[in-house]
Every structure is written in C-alpha cells, then in structure tokens.
Symmetry: D2
Subunit: 344 residues, 4 copies
C-alpha cells in the first residue's frame, strides 16, 4: 500500500483527492491537513464522505513521513515549503499553480512576482499524462494542471501533434466554467442569488492558464476567454483555430481518434444523432474523462475544437491521481474508473 | 407627487422598493440610504436600474423630511430609531420584523429579546392589505410582512374567513423558498457550489414567521417547516389542515374565489389541464400576485392549500408599496401592474 | 461471474442498472434490451458509458438465459411477461411497480385495474433490504421499490421499529423531487423553460407510492404530497408525525442510530454546525446512501423526520443491485461503493 | 388606440408580445391566434397573464382588420400568407425570419430554399431601431430580428460605426443562450434532465443568424458559434475581432458611449468593482435593454466585445414593439419601461 498525505484537504480539490485516494485499492491515507478545519472530521467538510472515512483534519505542523504527498494548498504556498515537504515524502504531486511553469520568467510574467523556489521548477514534470506519460513514469515530482489549460490543451493537442494547425494565425479559446472552479471560499459574486443563472465573461484575455497552453503546446497566439455559467462542476473549452490549407476532415478524425486510442481517459464525441452529439461536461461530473471533438469549416479552414472535463477531476484531482498511478508503476486508471452519471 | 425616502436601500428588499418607487407614477424618490454603499450609484448595487435612476446612496445621517419613509433595515434597527424616523416622515412603512407583532410578549417569545419600543407596536397596522385593507387606508404606520407568513396566511385565509377549518387539529405548513430570502449578504451555505441543487430543510419547526400566522389568523396549532430549493426568487407554502366534517369542494371554491374577487392581487389557480395547473412562484418573479389553490381529500377531511408568491414582492416590497397606495388614497395596484414573465 | 440481463435498458433506471452492473466485479452483462433503441450502442443513450461498455441494445425477443434478469420496463409490462421471464432466469429483480404490493385488492385500489398475474405477487419479496434483508437472502424474486415510498419508509422506519410513533394521528409526508423521477420521456411539463425553477406541487394526496408505505410500515394514516423542484436527481421526504407522550430526543437518537448501525447504506445526519447539517439529496447523486434525520418539537410531540436519497439509486437501481447482492450471497455493498460528490 | 392583432400567440415570442401589448397604454389587442390552442384562454398558455387578459385564442381564419398585425408564426409561414395579412392590416411587424434578408439569394443560401414572396423582401425594414430608426419611422412593414444576430450586431455596431475594426481579419462570435431560444415545443434535447446543467455547443459555425450580421454590419468574415447553457431567458454574445493598429481604449469608450447616448435601450456596462462589471443577461429578463461592453488587448489589437440581451425581448418581442412605437410615431420606449429584476 502507498502511504499518502494530503496538505490542504478542506478545499474542493483536496476533497476530491481524499475521495479518490480513500477509495483507491493501493492507497492508504495517513493524514489530511487543514488549518481552518483542524480537529474536525473530514466528512463535516466533505459530507459525501460520511461513513467512508473517519479521519479528522490535522495541523500542517503535525505531518509525518509518507510515500507520496499531495499538495492542495492555495497558490503560492507550496513553493515556500517545498524543501520541508520533499524531506517528508518520496514523491510529491502538487495540485497548485506553483510548479507548472518551467521558466521563472514566465512565472513572473503571468503571476506577477518572483518564484520563491525557482531551482525546483525544473524538477517537476507537468502533470498531464496525455503529454508527459513517459516522463511521469520516472518522475519524483509532478505538478498540477490548470483546469482551463487542460481543457484547452486537450482540445488542441491532436491538431498540434498532427501538425495540422496554422501556427501563424490567432487562436481564440472560449471557456465556460462552473462555480466550483472558484474554490470553496465564497465571495460577493459567488452568493447564490448573484451567481445563479449567470453568463458572466469575467476574463476577456490574459488568464494565467494561458501560460500552460503556451508552454505545453507552443501556441503563443492563443487567447483564453473565461465565462462563468450556471453549473457547479465542469468546464468546456471551445477553441477556434485555423488548419493549414488542404487539411481534410479525414485527417482531423485520424488525429482525434489517435489521441483517444493512446489515452484511456480521452474520448471522441462526434455523433450525428441523439441528444449527446458533442462533448458536454455535465455527464463527466466525478469522472476523469476528457471528451473531445472538432468541426471543420472547410470554406475558411476554420476548425472549432471542443473539450469537456470535470474541472475538479481531469482538471485537478483526477489528473493528480493518474500521475501518482504512473509514478508508482500502477495501472494508470486505478481508482479512476467512475463513469460519471446520466442523467444529472 | 409623494416624496419618498428609503432607509436601507442596498439589500434585496430595498432594491425592489427602489425599482418600484422609481417607476411609480405618483412617487418621487428623494433619497435612499446605505451605510455600506454610501456614495456609490444605486445601479452599482442593483444593476437592473442602470439608466433608470441616477442617485447615489446617502448616509442614514443625511436624510431629510419626506412624505413617506420606507424602512428596509435589518431586524432590530427600526425599533431603535423609530422616534427619529417618525419626526421626519408623515407616514412610515417598515419592511422589517420590528413592528409586525402587536404583543410585546409574543415579540419576546419569538425574537428572544425585549422590544425596544413596545409603545409603538400598537400604532402599526400589519401590512397585508388582504386582511387589513380598511385600516391601512387611514394608517400612519404600516408594518412589513414576513414572506413565509404571507404565503401561509394567504393559503389559509379563505378557510379561516369562511369558518371551514377545524381549529382543533394541527396545521402543518411546508414552505419551499429561494435563496433571495436569505438576503444580500453571503454565508458559507449560500456559496453557489453549496447552495445550488439543494433541497435543504433548514428549519423543522419554530420559525419566527409562525408568530404572524398565529396573530393574523389565530391558528395557534400551525407549524411552519422551511426548505430551501434551487431558485432565487419565490416561495411556495403547502399547508395541510383539516376542514370541518361535511365541508365540500364547492364551499372551498366559493371561499377561494371570494378572496380572489375581493383582492386585485389574489388569483385562484386550479386547472384541469395544461402545464400550469397549480400556483407556482416561478412565473411570479417581479409581480405582486399571490396565486392560491386548494385540494380536498374528502375521505379524510384533509385539505391541502397552496400559495405561491415572489418573496421580495408580495412577501416584502410589493406589499409595502401596496400599503403606501392605500395609505395615500391611490389606486391600490398603482406601480404594481407588472405581470411576471413566462417562460422564466 | 453472475450472468445478467436487463429488460428495458434505455430508460433512466435501466441506464443506472447498466452502469452499476457493468462496473460490478461479480457480474457480466449478457444483454440489455430496448425496443426503441434496438441496434444502437448503449452509450448513445447513456453517454457516460462511452468507452465503458460496447454492447448494443437488443430486441426483447432476442434474449437468452441468464442467472439474473432485471426488469426495468414501464409499469404494467412485467406482469404480462413474468412467466416468460421466469423461464429464462434463475432469479429476477423487477424495478417496476408490478410486484411491489402483496395484496391484489390494494393493487387494484392504487393502480386502478386488476393485476394480470396476481398469483405471482406472493412470490416476490419487497426489495428494500433495510426491511427485508433476511428474506432477500433466500429470495428468487425481488420487487423494486418506489423512490418516494423509499424516502418515506426510511424516514419513518426507526420510529416504527422502536414503537415511538402515535399511530392514531395523521402523518403528512412532503416529498420534493427532481426531474429524473418523471422518466426519460419528455412531456410539455418537462420542457426545460417550463420545468426550470419550478416549485410545483403536482400531487396533493393519493400518490400511488402511498400503498408501499401502508404495506411496509402499516401507516394507514400517511399522506404523501409531491412537489417538483429544480434538480435532476434526488428526493427528499420530510415527514410530520407524532410521537407517543413522553418520548425523548434520546430515544429518537437511539432509534435512528440503530438503523444506521444495522445498515451499510443508512447514515444519520444531524449536525450542529457546518453547511451540511441535515440530509440533502444533492451530495447523494450516484450513491446508494439514504441519509436520515429527525427533529422533535417536545412541546407538541411533533416529530419531523427526513430522508434524502438519489431516486435512481437507493430509490431504484441501487436498491435493485443491493437486492441482487443479497440474493447471490455477495457482500451487500459490492459495486455500490461510490460515495457521491461534493460539491455538485 | 392602436388596434393590434397577433398571429401565432401561443409560442414564447407571441406570449411576450401579448404581455407587452396588453400593458401598452396606446394599444388594444383585438385578437391573438393559435391553431393549437384555439378556444383556450390565453392565460392557460401564458399563466403570467391570468387576471390580466381575458381573451381566448382564435383561429387564424377568423381574423379581422387591424391597425397593426404582428406575425409570430414559425419560420416559413409568413411569406406564404403575406398578401392576405397585408390586406388586413395597415402595418405589419413580422417576428419570424421570413423578411429579414433583403437578398433572395442570401435567403436561399442560408435557409436552403427559394423564398415564396421575394418581391416583398424589399418592402420590409430590418427591425433593429439602433440601425434603422429613421427608416422605421416611415415604414409600413418591419421585419423581426434574430436574437443571436441582435446580440452580435449590437456588440459590434460601435466598432463598425466608428470604423475601428480591421475588416480583413476573422471575427469569431461565441454566443451562449438559454433554453427559451428553442421555442415552446419540446424535443428530446429540451427534456429537463437532459437540458439542465448543460454547456452544449450545438452549432460550431454556419448559424442562420450569421446572414443578418453580414447584411447589417457588412462583416463577411464573421462566424457565430452557439452554446446552450442552463438558463431560460438570455443570450450573451462574446465577439472576438481586431481593431486597426493604433486604436486606443479611449476611442472604444467613445464609440460605445455614443451608441448608448443615441439609443434608449443601450447601456454600457464596464465597471471596475462590484459583482456586475460586465453585461449579463440574467438581470435583463423581461427588459428591452441591450447591455454592451468591450475589452481591448492592446498588445494584439484584439478586442473582445460583449452584448447581453433577453432573447425574447430585445431579441424578439421587445424590438418588435419598439418598431411599432416608431412606426406609429409614439415614444420609442412606450410600454417597454420594465427594468428587469435583481436578484433573479
């Protein structure tokens, strides 16, 4: 059994981690920390876990050695404590934004401040198995992934891998997200009467996750635009790009099917009939799947690619557990078999 | 023109008051106060009013004389300042719970503390025109109404007026409410990911609005049970009572139709076909209607009566404006003609 | 491996059955039928199952022998074909209403027509393990459970078992339900613009599931009132009953805890703090838990008991698989371990 | 009083027309037709109008002469009957898509069939007052507007009028819409359990409303992409375009403010603080406002423009009544003063 600890277990990603690890056949949770909820039962914060796990949250100061440490702390904290954590755990999976970018200059550009542990940036493998599977198998440290970056990267990865995309042209990615993306702490805009029924474009350009798209796919012309909609879990990226002249739907099919064939959690959804013809996040709640698709307007070489994920799963805790599985030589899908629900 | 002032304009009921009074053909808003939003444009708090009203919120200390003062302050404040307010305004309509109950002992029982201005309790007319229309026409001071009390009172009023109810038996009232009832201030339970999709029975018995049902209808055996559902505006009361032996559906029809005939904002909804056969709050958003109905199980003398309202309108600001109309000798429906929307 | 067949796999309960059985470590799905979707991939109807199951729906005429047959057909069909099904399968679990009631007269009273196979009614065990666990262990045939009946029965079962309830008094059960309870076929009232945001009391009394409450708990004075709210999955029963004079909260705690201790899927939720203090269906989506609670108004001996379930799980497919586990001597919780999600 | 008739009153746009015209101080509704609901009270289809209007739907064959006829029939019907309607009414406002396009070839391209009355196309003024106010003042016939076209046109109109846009570059418009846009007739995809919680990109390119953007703004490079979200009323267009080199935020402010100043229903929403900083359709339900905004990424000359509307109001019935006001020399805003609600 892999002995696991979780730093920052009372947030939403932390809660999903606890849920997944607690049900994982090869993992034993040794502790989960929460400064705010210290001493309280985990199931008081994550009521779905009542009768499933009987631990209480402990102080981050009381942690002990484990085989793997998951960091689900707010942005900026992991980089301050990384030496301490590395001394306690053979392997680390960080869900925050702290170790996603390789380049300290990029970090400063997008996050507005110097990185506190720049020498550690190179030690982390970016935690998206669909891009870094082989490196993750031997990795000691894996970073988290931005949920919006993940939806974007998986929507466009087939085009990039197959060299179909016209890199000179601009790429606009419209991402619609549910409210859980904002985290477990409320704010005036998350108050139910204000947040219900919204279509709220809260970031027109310049979203930090853009940095992960540039780093991982090299798409320097990509712009991410964020819109909140009335949903708790889920993110949908609709990306507008241009293919090179002469690219056919057949080539796109080949590229998208290839990604699906090579990756257990990637599905192509492109149906001619029925209600569910395109990727939709609603049926992915709780699942680690990323559903992808494309639509080619041949007259204009304009391709619309789509990716739907559960932002807390494939966009956070699910990818983190998938990384752990790879890092420990386990079956990649272990503990991540839940299919999602229909209807929901 | 009636010169009106609003104390406490940045909350939800205050915002509705401003919307209604601003569009009212016989009213001019002189000021609206907000300690928290002082100096800001009203439309920054109530964005629907952009381009409709150009006032900023003023401090409660800066107010001047007006013909009518509406108090939309949090519970407990109006009673502390009532002398001051009465000196400034010829008439007062208080939307809070401070002057609803006539009996200081009842106030203490339900609100847990002594009333600060018990001598004023008797000066206020309870602000539900369907019960106190004639008194309101000559009133100087009108209280607000509890939204849940109003849904309950209007569901049961026809039975009580017609003497059909068996007063010895218990009455259970199940009230389902939207999130705006909790007010404009957020809390952990109102955070969208936690408040969405809920069916949350947050008060099994002992709700304070029970006091208004007892006072207004004399139903000492009534229990109100509160359940939050996923909706912003609206409250539905489903009341379970017993009719006296021998009471027929015809008598109930007569009682419910009578209330509808006597009151411009009461409608009986009891259809045999179509989608909208029973009262539903969703189509009442923004309207001052109270839709009522009943269903009689003759085998058991058990009657289920229903009332749907918009908690911010008929349950708060709408009834307040209706009271003002009566108090100033205006047409009762003036400024309250909006029908609600379908679909919504 | 248990070889299983599903009759009627394209509806919502059928879809959940397929999801559960496909992931069940001791079951192999041999076929699932659907007259309407014959020849189509199951994942076209249940898109969450894409890449999880590759079967197509077959005609009900093409079915073969299996160890267990699940019937998820519309009401009234199973009773016509029961002889045929019994010839094909060693054991049968019927999810429809056809074999829930033991008494043909009760069936006629509540369903309005004579039962087509009354001699079979006695052969079925009512499929709620929390009441009939021991019989189910040796049963050949198990019935389904009504979702609303289940929420009601589990809310009141502790009171009944402990003999705390005053059986002379009326019991009012207010049940709030999501839209999946209406099944996969649309109607004018389920059209999204009409069904969204509703609080719609569609049945004041006389709901058919009342028959199951009377049969299983002997509560002849129970009335079920049904209200639709804006949610897809989930049902909450709030039951109003009276306890015998002198009954204390301590006795209620004991009764509710006992049910939880004896049953793996029963949880008592009665917290003094936090957001999730009472049972709520939203966190149960996909899980087989029934969360129960109570609140005692000692002044009136009035008790409010609450039960939250996922209507498609504990109220349908989940209980059916739980029955199968018992009937085949497996661990009762096998294949039903999913905890539900938070947030959702 | 203007005597008005409505053809096709049982749909959603028809219902809104009836609501608006019934409350309009200068209009008397003479009839509303509905083949499906003939003989039924209008309030049975549009329950918000109970106690507001007591007419029943009549057959389209029974109509008489009126001053103005509103056509709210399904696409393709108005063009077949236009001669008949013109003989009955001095003025016509058509809400359907039949007379929006001036060019029969464009009609054939986007609607896939020959127009049945091409000689009438030139007689209609496109019914968006923000573009055609002067022509509408003398028009006999006004067309409807596509709701998605309207959101797009108003998002981009300031840029086009001010000549700031780089017309050589592609324009991508992402439109998120509520379920009422699909009309009052249900389909498998509008069934509540399937339609709730969706983010469903149902049209990647080629939407018919594109034709209205090309015709009205000359933007031949515009692509509209449609995504359904969980909301009943409302549409938000987020348009991505490029400004000419050197264009500054100041010029954009000027262009957007100008449109707002010239048009009573246009508001610029671009706040630095508060919850409502950008246009959002939720607060526009029932109102005729179009809220617009922009965001300029100066590094890339990329401008994101936004427009929020109520698709049934500014995108349909509201604009139609606004046209009528202009055509009859009335105050443009008459009967359209409702502000929308907050919260909702």
């Amino acid at each position: 059994m892999i002995r696991a600890g979780i730093i920052g277990g009372s947030g939403y990603a932390g809660g999903e981690l606890i849920r997944l690890l607690n049900a994982h056949p090869q993992v034993e949770i040794i502790f989960a920390t929460s400064r705010a909820k210290m001493g309280e039962y985990i199931y008081q914060s994550h009521p779905n876990l009542r009768k499933q796990i009987n631990l209480t949250f402990v102080s981050p100061e009381e942690i002990s050695e484990v085989d793997v440490l998951f960091l689900a702390t707010p942005h900026g904290q992991a980089q301050k404590e990384i030496e301490k954590y590395a001394a306690l755990a053979g392997k680390i999976v960080d869900l925050s934004a702290d170790f996603r970018l390789k380049d300290p200059a990029a970090y400063k550009k997008w996050y507005g401040e110097d990185h506190k542990a720049p020498e550690w940036l190179g030690k982390f493998v970016y935690g998206l198995p669909e891009i870094h599977r082989e490196e993750l198998k031997t990795a000691t440290y894996a970073s988290g992934v931005g949920c919006n970056a993940t939806a974007t990267n998986l929507a466009l990865l087939p085009l990039v891998k197959a060299g179909l995309i016209d890199l000179q042209q601009n790429i606009f990615v419209e991402i619609k997200v549910g409210s859980s993306e904002g985290g477990a702490e409320g704010n005036p805009g998350s108050h139910h009467p204000e947040r219900s029924n919204v279509i709220r474009t809260f970031s027109a350009y310049g979203h930090r996750h853009t940095a992960e798209v540039i780093q991982e796919l090299g798409l320097v012309n990509a712009t991410l635009t964020m819109t909140s909609v009335d949903l708790v879990r889920g993110a949908l990226a609709t990306a507008h790009a241009f293919v090179k002249p002469g690219v056919t739907p057949k080539e796109l099919w080949k590229a998208y099917r290839a990604l699906s064939n090579e990756n257990p959690f990637i599905r192509v959804v492109k149906e001619q009939r029925g209600v569910y013809r395109v990727p939709e996040p609603k049926i992915l709640a709780g699942s680690n799947y990323a559903d992808i698709s494309f639509d080619l307007d041949m007259d204009n070489h304009h391709v619309v690619t789509i990716c739907a994920i559960d932002n807390l799963m494939k966009g956070a805790a699910g990818s983190a557990v998938q990384c752990m599985n790879l890092m420990f030589g386990l079956e990649e899908t272990l503990g991540l078999e839940f299919s999602g629900l229909h209807p929901i």
